[in-house]
């Protein structure tokens, strides 16, 4: 029963999101905004796994997103690069769906690397390692022109094609198709996070976050736990990056921009870190806020309002929107407690 109650809000949200395009009458501009917001929200969900549940802030999270985007794009475009020592790497284009899988794997592998590091560095130092990692990856994407085209951007990235051998294929060209693809991937990621944080593994993460020495002393393996969290988180970010590349059909090293990570952090913390709903609610609000502001005011003013909205939300609900609202809902029955307290004695 209580399980059902818990499942209700996300299910309602999913239903609403699934029905939204019908309501919008497929306005392409709004659909476009929703798709991009959705992709970034998946990024935010992945960041939440690290920030919200292990307490480690990755300010270089965009690295995984960008790596996913590049791996996926290069897999589906093919490349031919000189590796030095007379070696060449030549790759013929593969279907975009394979690119998606490789993006998830490659980003996850990078997450493993960073996760191993996080065994040694925590807190601010972890933040710096992640920032540095993202900057290094960005500079490689920028400077390894032969592979990535550097700042000249990878263009003509094909759309994702779904299909099974023998059953024919289906290319996702329209916005509506892409919207549902993003929604599907997002739902899957939600599921993965929900499963992970709900059980033993989630308790291990919480333990490490609240009191690391004590967590170690009850047998929690910090390296393993943080690494698994980092791998899953990075893989999800890589999936989002792949969706981004195939939806936008062009990527350049700008995908590694620091501001995008900051945007994801805003989605997570303002929405409510360490909650499942938080990044989704935060993602929708801060993804769509610029769309709402665009027609009503000057460009500079839009940014100012964006910043002010952020500040106001945190003043009203310092722990984020979702915990804030949950607190409001819960507070009402709590007031009734003294009355209830008196009654149990009566029957006896």
């Amino acid at each position: 029963m209580s399980r059902l109650l818990h499942a209700l809000p996300p299910l309602a949200l999913l239903a609403a999101l699934a029905a939204l395009p019908l309501a919008l009458g497929s306005n392409p501009y709004l659909l476009n905004a929703l798709i991009v917001t959705g992709i970034l929200t998946i990024g935010a969900m992945s960041l939440n796994l690290l920030l919200g549940y292990t307490g480690q802030l990755s300010l270089g999270h965009i690295a995984f997103f960008g790596i996913g985007a590049y791996v996926s794009a290069l897999t589906s475009l093919g490349f031919d690069v000189e590796l030095g020592f007379g070696l060449r790497a030549v790759h013929e284009p593969w279907p975009a769906a394979v690119g998606f899988v490789l993006a998830v794997v490659a980003a996850g592998a990078c997450g493993y690397l960073i996760g191993r590091l996080s065994f040694r560095v925590r807190g601010a130092y972890f933040v710096l390692v992640t920032i540095s990692f993202a900057e290094v990856v960005r500079l490689v994407a920028l400077n390894w022109v032969e592979l990535t085209q550097g700042p000249l951007a990878l263009t003509n990235i094909p759309a994702i094609t779904l299909g099974l051998p023998g059953l024919g294929t289906w290319t996702l060209r329209t916005k509506l198709q892409n919207y549902y693809l993003v929604l599907a991937v997002g739902t899957l990621c939600w599921f993965v996070v929900a499963r992970l944080v709900g059980a033993r593994f989630g308790r291990a993460m919480r333990g490490l976050k609240e009191n690391e020495s004590l967590a170690l002393s009850v047998g929690i393996n910090a390296t393993r736990t943080l690494t698994v969290a980092a791998v899953v988180s990075a893989a999800m970010a890589g999936a989002a990056g792949s969706l981004y590349a195939h939806y936008l059909r062009i990527i350049d090293p700008e995908v590694f921009a620091f501001t995008t990570t900051v945007g994801m952090v805003i989605m997570v913390v303002a929405g409510g870190k360490g909650t499942l709903m938080g990044p989704v609610v935060g993602g929708l609000i801060f993804g769509l806020l610029p769309v709402a502001l665009r027609p009503v005011m000057a460009p500079e003013a839009q940014w100012i309002v964006y910043g002010l909205v952020l500040i106001v939300i945190l003043f009203v609900m310092p722990r984020g929107i979702v915990p804030g609202l949950a607190g409001l809902v819960r507070r009402r029955p709590a007031r009734a407690v003294p009355v209830l307290e008196a009654s149990p004695e009566a029957p006896r």
Binding site: L57, V127, I131, V265, V269, W303, Y306, I311, L314
Partner: protein
């Protein structure tokens, strides 16, 4: 050889610049434990204030500096009282986000007021550089180096040698207990943030004439400042200064002898390497469990 000497001289000069960026953040991030995303914006504000003082009020650069520093101090105090004080005791990520919001507002505000076209602040120093053997250095940048070292020294002394510094450190380690010792905790909070902000503005004011002044100038500066402060060990003023010089050296030699495209990457690779070797920064303090 001549090129190496020039690189080393550049390192000294650039290191001074970086150290200057770092020390303001050391106070706020390293000691107060507020992830200060307004640092870049305050740096920008400092630069614009000098520009205004010199271009609009016709002040001399040396007179404009105190104006900018005072401006930074007041703005910092305002931010602390309005934005941070009500959120005292909240999660560090919450205050970080509020600082991100404030940073966005400040930066867009400067763009709105001053427009996107860069401004130049004239320098009172001779254009012809000082020649040191095969290397040359601009006078202005020597002045900046000197000012940076002075500010580092003053900040160090303030934190480690004065009663105010003692109270600051105590407050951010345990505010309740510091209050029990008689510290006016609220004043310390505001003063520390204001001082850190004044130092950020000072950096902008000093570097405005060296570079050009524009609304975006804070972004890269902020990222570097964070790197420098963490590299040096949180809350450690000398560490931050040394971190600045190390970063400068890595960048100079990286650009000079490896590849200018990877100039910034060199700095970040050094940071990763250092943190692998010393997971809590170069000059971290001892900790214990149990």
């Amino acid at each position: 050889m001549d090129q190496l000497i020039q690189h080393l001289v550049n390192t000294l000069i650039l290191g001074g610049t970086y150290a200057l960026l770092g020390i303001g953040l050391t106070l706020i991030f390293g000691i107060m434990n507020v992830v200060n995303f307004t640092h870049g914006a305050l740096y920008t504000v400092g630069a614009y204030l000098t520009y205004l003082a010199v271009a609009a009020l016709g002040l001399d650069l040396f007179l404009a500096l105190p104006v900018a520093i005072l401006g930074g101090l007041l703005l910092g105090a305002l931010i602390e009282i309005v934005l941070l004080r009500p959120l005292r005791g909240q999660d560090i990520d919450t205050t970080m986000l509020v600082m991100i919001g404030a940073g966005i507002v400040l930066q867009s505000g400067t763009l709105w007021i001053f427009g996107g076209v860069a401004k130049a602040v004239p320098s009172p120093f001779p254009e012809a550089p000082l020649q040191i053997g095969p290397a040359s250095v601009s006078w202005l940048r020597l002045f900046v180096l000197g000012a940076a070292l002075l500010l580092i020294g003053l900040t160090y002394a303030l934190i480690n040698r004065t009663k105010l510094g003692l109270a600051m450190r105590a407050t951010f380690q345990d505010a309740d207990t510091a209050a029990l010792m008689g510290v006016n905790v609220r004043v310390i909070y505001t003063a520390t943030f204001a001082m850190g902000s004044a130092l950020a503005a000072a950096a902008g004011a000093l570097l405005g004439p060296v570079y050009v002044v524009h609304p975006q100038m804070g972004g890269p500066a902020e990222l570097k400042a964070f790197a420098i402060v963490i590299l040096g060990g949180l809350g450690n003023v000398t560490g931050a200064a040394i971190g600045g010089f190390i970063l400068a050296l890595a960048e100079e030699l990286g650009a000079g002898y490896i590849s200018s495209g990877y100039r910034d990457a060199m700095g970040f690779l050094i940071i990763i390497a250092v943190l692998l070797y010393r997971p809590t920064g170069l000059f971290a303090k001892a900790e214990r469990v149990g």
